[in-house]
């Protein structure tokens, strides 16, 4: 399990190796504090949605899950996309309401990121990878926490770099978006060096 965690956080980092969730990444990472908030929100949402999606996928959508009702051949796994995205949207909505009701100061600080996360490629991507790779429930949870943490780490590092970058002499054409891409590329290069640490044979 440890190497699954390390693999999903470093070597197969959702942001830096699969380019998932970059939009939010690039738009939000100008400030360190917002990046931290977004990162934490991401880990929490991942840790809830991927296992829930796993349960729904394996017990409602895959072949054989409707055998108790007399339809053993029913395979509606093609609905997984609709299902996952609806579940994610619903969970994020509920989370927002729960935060607002019971943890209002937390909601004020972090609540604005939750809607951004609903349409984040990384959240949906993690659930889709989970389905494609046939993880068990335990593996799904580890994968969720690992990939969420990896994404959070990437975005926080990036925000820190970008804050410093505002004071450097960047060529005019590269200002803003251009240099952001180059820095992300360098970060990605750095993270790929973790391949050996991840313990992948």
């Amino acid at each position: 399990m440890i190497d699954l965690f390390l693999l999903s956080a470093f070597e197969e980092n959702l942001a830096l190796s699969f380019f998932l969730g970059i939009c939010t990444f690039l738009a939000v990472s100008r400030s360190f504090d917002t990046a931290v908030g977004l990162g934490i929100a991401m880990v929490v949402v991942q840790a809830i949605t991927v296992p829930v999606n796993h349960v729904i996928f394996h017990h409602l959508l895959t072949e054989g899950s409707w055998s108790w009702i007399g339809l053993p051949d029913a395979d509606i796994s093609f609905l997984k996309l609709l299902c996952f995205i609806s579940v994610i949207a619903a969970i994020v909505q509920i989370l927002e309401m729960v935060l607002d009701r019971f943890f209002t100061p937390l909601h004020l600080r972090m609540g604005i990121y939750l809607p951004l996360i609903t349409v984040n490629c990384a959240i949906l991507g993690a659930s889709l990878f989970m389905a494609e790779r046939h993880y068990t429930l335990a593996e799904s949870t580890v994968y969720a926490v690992g990939s969420g943490s990896g994404w959070a780490l990437a975005i926080i590092s990036f925000a820190a770099i970008r804050e410093r970058l505002q004071y450097s002499d960047v060529p005019r054409g590269l200002q803003g978006l251009g240099i952001a891409f180059v820095v992300t590329g360098l970060l990605s290069l750095g993270f790929s060096s973790f391949a050996v640490i991840g313990g992948v044979p």
Binding site: I76, F78, L79, L82, R133, H134, T136, P201
Partner: protein, 270 residues
């Protein structure tokens, strides 16, 4: 008096203020229903095409694998490729199984299926494959062609990719008759040298076990000494070790070990 008609209800529904509860629930329901029906119709229509694609891909993979067997050993050439028999082996029991059609059995897919495979504990997983399918196809030439030759599909982690190969064994003498690698993505020029016919021919005639039936086959740095060792490829130690570990795993207790033992003791007949 107004007739209550479907269009009437529909128009009434559309005229509702957008944020009313009825409209909200109604719209959500209508959109979801339409979407699901639309998707389901396309799924059902396209399902046969998808299945055909998968079956065709299976066939191509099988063909590709079989082609690489040609020339693997002196006894195997393009002609008697036709005579190869394929049967499914239950790896745990070491016996033949008729549970599934061996020609269609896809080991890679089975390894991901929770019912058809086992997860390997870390210390035992020397080939780095994490999960092992419970069944595997084996190929052999029928007995009337002299001493039997068995071809085992093996796979294991190399330096940067999964290596897929066939290992030909002469079960009566416990020697390797040949090795052929049909899928790998190792470093070109270094690890990929495992595809060199010269290197592959080094495996022929190597003995697998020692007197006490421990697996001794290994890839060594530099020159091989003795019947259990194969020369390593310089600059590609990890790939070489990957191949060695792959062979050791699949000839061991978690691989085809029980099957080979049953063959040797005569409990199982080809």
């Amino acid at each position: 008096m107004d007739r209550v008609s479907i269009t009437g209800i529909w128009r009434w529904f559309l005229a509702l203020p957008n944020d009313s509860a009825a409209k909200t629930l109604g719209m959500a329901f209508v959109v979801t229903l339409t979407a699901s029906v639309f998707v389901s119709i396309s799924a059902v229509t396209l399902q046969p095409v998808l299945r055909e694609n998968l079956a065709r891909e299976q066939q191509i993979q099988m063909q590709h694998m079989l082609q690489s067997l040609v020339g693997m050993s002196d006894k195997l050439n393009a002609e008697n490729l036709e005579e190869l028999v394929v049967r499914l082996v239950d790896l745990q029991q070491g016996t033949f199984s008729d549970q599934y059609d061996p020609a269609l059995f896809n080991q890679r897919v089975a390894a991901r299926d929770l019912e058809l495979s086992v997860a390997l504990p870390l210390e035992a997983d020397i080939a780095g494959i994490r999960r092992r399918s419970n069944y595997a196809p084996v190929f052999f030439l029928p007995a009337n062609n002299g001493p039997p030759l068995i071809i085992l599909p093996v796979h294991g982690a190399g330096y940067q990719s999964m290596i897929y190969a066939f290992l030909a064994i002469e079960p009566t003498t416990d020697t390797i008759a040949g090795l052929t690698i049909y899928e790998q993505s190792e470093t070109p020029g270094l690890g990929a040298k495992i595809l060199d016919p010269d290197w592959k021919s080094l495996w022929r005639g190597k003995k697998i076990f020692d007197e006490r039936r421990n697996i001794r086959i290994a890839v060594v740095r530099g020159q091989a000494q003795g019947p259990h060792e194969v020369d390593g490829i310089s600059g590609a130690t990890r790939t070489g070790n990957g191949v060695a570990n792959m062979i050791r795993f699949w000839l061991g207790d978690l691989g085809f070990g029980p099957f080979l033992q049953n063959l040797k003791s005569g409990e199982l007949e080809l």
